[in-house]
């Protein structure tokens, strides 16, 4: 079978069957791409996950692009990326068109009044989990606090925060950390 079509189909399937965001996709991607199709080895996959995690953008798209490029260069990357994004796109589009007609229904409005506070909690919980994974301690806890306050209270764009944090990390690593160690 044509490899372009096959890689598109594989990632389309991965896109359809993952609930709960990018990281939930890892086991399925591993099963399909490492186990069944053997497009990349297990060790390569670990490297890919590490790089895709640290780069900006949607995690699943990053992984898909990587594997597609490895298979058939740029055209392969376009196939796998399209495959990953298309199911989400179509499903959300159908819901958006459907939901815009029911938004003002009093029952639907009541359901969403209950859902909204829950969503706030669903974003709050990963904040703490991410904080643990970033190994924050008493000397570094001020960084997320200052960033959050700058965005929340002063309306600073998160893009500037990202840029400043990246530059500060670079300067710290290059000029401060080496003299300490």
């Amino acid at each position: 079978m044509n490899i372009y079509w096959e890689s598109f189909k594989t990632f389309f399937k991965i896109g359809i069957f993952t609930l709960g965001g990018g990281y939930a996709m890892i086991p399925l991607i591993e099963e399909e791409v490492v186990g069944k199709k053997q497009w990349v080895s297990k060790d390569e996959m670990l490297d890919l996950i590490a790089i895709a995690q640290s780069c900006p953008g949607v995690f699943a798209i990053n992984i898909a692009t990587f594997i597609g490029y490895k298979l058939r260069k740029t055209r392969g990357a376009v196939c796998t990326t399209l495959g990953t994004a298309l199911p989400s796109f179509l499903i959300i589009l159908a819901i958006a068109i459907f939901f815009s007609q029911f938004k003002d229904n009093p029952y639907v409005a009541a359901i969403f009044r209950g859902i909204r506070p829950a969503v706030v909690a669903l974003i709050a919980v990963p904040t703490f989990r991410l904080g643990q994974r970033a190994k924050l301690n008493w000397y570094t806890i001020w960084i997320p606090v200052v960033c959050a306050l700058a965005i929340w209270a002063l309306g600073v764009s998160p893009i500037y925060i990202i840029l400043i944090a990246g530059i500060a990390g670079y300067l710290y690593g290059m000029y401060i950390k080496p003299t300490n160690s």
């Binding site: 909204r116 970033a134 670079y170 950390k177």
Partner: protein
């Protein structure tokens, strides 16, 4: 031209969206709600809920939905709104596509250097701050009401926030199931 600014905005979000789907939400919210006023806070919150409950990456889901709603709110019909969601999704994916191709072509060997690693050392705590800001920005009148305006809704909303945080954080209840519970509670208590 709203399509052009939609493209530029989501391209930026794709380029600077570190920290996975949730980290990206902070950027999407700032750009679509605070900076461009394409969506209201409650619309954005609904979009996050729906993105969470449907298959696929949260970043793609919310970009598609935000693109649709932004164009629809600007007074265009369904067809133009579909074009809007295609624009937002394409713009979000484009930086990833280019960056990943560049990395696999020539920068693979630089990814483990001290230079790149120290940049990430700075980014990691900042992304935690981004998520905290997204949480704080969603805690407003539109999502919770106020103790003066509607004390009942405010009280129930706070209870649902705490219940969901406890349920998903400690009891490890599946987030999608938790959203369903909260929706059911809303139907019973906030109708």
């Amino acid at each position: 031209m709203i399509f052009l600014s939609l493209f530029i905005t989501f391209f930026e979000i794709g380029l600077f969206g570190f920290g996975g789907g949730y980290g990206m939400l902070s950027l999407i919210q700032h750009e679509t709600v605070e900076a461009n006023h394409w969506l209201s806070t409650s619309e954005f919150t609904d979009i996050v809920a729906i993105s969470q409950m449907t298959p696929g990456p949260i970043g793609i889901n919310s970009a598609t939905y935000c693109g649709y709603t932004a164009i629809h709110n600007a007074g265009y019909g369904h067809l133009m709104a579909v074009l809007g969601s295609a624009t937002a999704t394409f713009a979000l994916v484009l930086p990833s596509l280019v960056l990943m191709i560049l990395i696999s072509r020539m920068f693979m060997k630089y990814m483990n250097t001290p230079l790149v690693q120290s940049i990430f050392t700075g980014l990691r705590p900042a992304v935690v701050g981004l998520l905290a800001a997204a949480t704080l920005l969603l805690c407003n009148k539109e999502n919770f009401s106020t103790p003066f305006e509607n004390p009942w809704q405010f009280f129930i909303s706070c209870a649902l926030l705490i219940a969901t945080a406890f349920g998903t954080g400690y009891l490890k209840i599946n987030p999608i199931r938790m959203i369903c519970y909260a929706g059911f509670a809303g139907l019973l208590l906030l109708y």
